[in-house]
Assembly symmetry: C2
Homo-oligomer: 215 residues x 2
């Protein structure tokens, strides 16, 4: 799967160097975001630290923490995606167990029915499918911040596999509805999509159909 390393389109566009805006506060935040982007691209998500990003930005680590609560915040800022799957998952997992699938799907669709949000997420997936380092970065972020969190909350065998299967349905929903725009899925209401896809995600997560009957 190393065939896409020749596609450097997005890497070439990532802004580099010092920011031009005059406001020093914006400058510092932007400088940190750019340093994070460079650090993530160089070392991946898992091996990058807030400390290393601060060093690369030429600021103190405490200043990074002033702007960004966590490494996940820094990643979200570098890819400029307004949807935070890690936060959505944390919220949904705190709700009713039998509604996790429906609530995850509804949150995803409501967020991505905003065209700016869906364009950015599709752009992120486009880059990940074209560049090895971007795929690794996305995989590490999703595994660490999203799937790990979900798997920890699941009972039964192979929670990690079930979490990754649920993710496959979610990412497929994103690609089919917002990327390739397959109809009638692309035009279905958020409620209809949640009603139909939610139980499937729930099944993946729980390892059996939501009504409790096995296959």
């Amino acid at each position: 799967m190393a065939s896409h390393s020749d596609d450097t389109e997005t890497a070439a566009r990532r802004p580099r160097g010092r920011p031009r805006k005059s406001d020093q506060l914006v400058d510092t935040r932007e400088q940190i975001v750019r340093a994070a982007g460079t650090e993530f691209a160089a070392n991946g998500y898992d091996a990058s630290s807030v400390r290393a990003i601060a060093r690369r930005a030429g600021v103190d680590a405490s200043l990074v923490h002033h702007y960004f609560e966590s490494k996940a915040d820094l990643f979200a800022a570098t890819v400029r995606v307004p949807v935070r799957p890690d936060r959505v998952v944390a919220e949904v997992l705190a709700g009713p167990r039998d509604q996790i699938g429906v609530n995850l799907v509804r949150a995803l669709v409501v967020a991505l029915d905003d065209p700016v949000a869906s364009r950015r997420v599709i752009r992120l997936l486009h880059t990940a499918l074209g560049q090895e380092f971007a795929a690794t970065l996305l995989r590490q972020f999703v595994s660490h911040e999203v799937l790990g969190r979900i798997a920890k909350s699941l009972e039964g065998d192979e929670p990690e596999l079930r979490a990754s299967l649920a993710a496959s349905q979610m990412v497929g929903l994103i690609v089919a509805r917002y990327g390739v725009r397959l109809e009638p899925l692309a035009s279905a209401s958020p409620d209809e999509v949640a009603r139909r896809v939610g139980p499937v995600v729930q099944w993946h997560l729980m390892g059996e159909p939501p009504d409790g009957h096995g296959t």
Copy 2:
């Protein structure tokens, strides 16, 4: 979703002009494939005809039919993808009704566990997520040659919606296993994937869990 029109990477690489190989038979076939690529890019899948492709290639339509049985064959040749979803679907639909999901998933995974095949399919999805015309082309091909065929075979309400939902799970499986390579899904055996994802695809297609219990 017209934001990616600036990404012309793949379009720029598509070979154009007359082929260089000396073998005239290979030349003619290649010439037709290139004409098909140009025609599809200009007019989309639905509005392109074998006749127009023949005209563009400067050959008789009967010669096109000599090399290619159908428009779907021409499309598959232009994107150089060795997996033929239209044929797989036709075969699976001819088999046992309660095994459609499992058989579709197994056929997909067995075909794409070949690295050449998965690279080409991921490249196709990468292009579709980056270019408006490529998304349209893929959507029209999938809708016409794959989903239409499936929907026609389904009973009950909204067969088209159910077919597009099943497609979302299939495409998500492709992106998660072969593109982003989420673990442990990326390393799971084809049997394991078919066993876990097949019933979910079946559910999408039938509108209820495979064992007949509704939600």
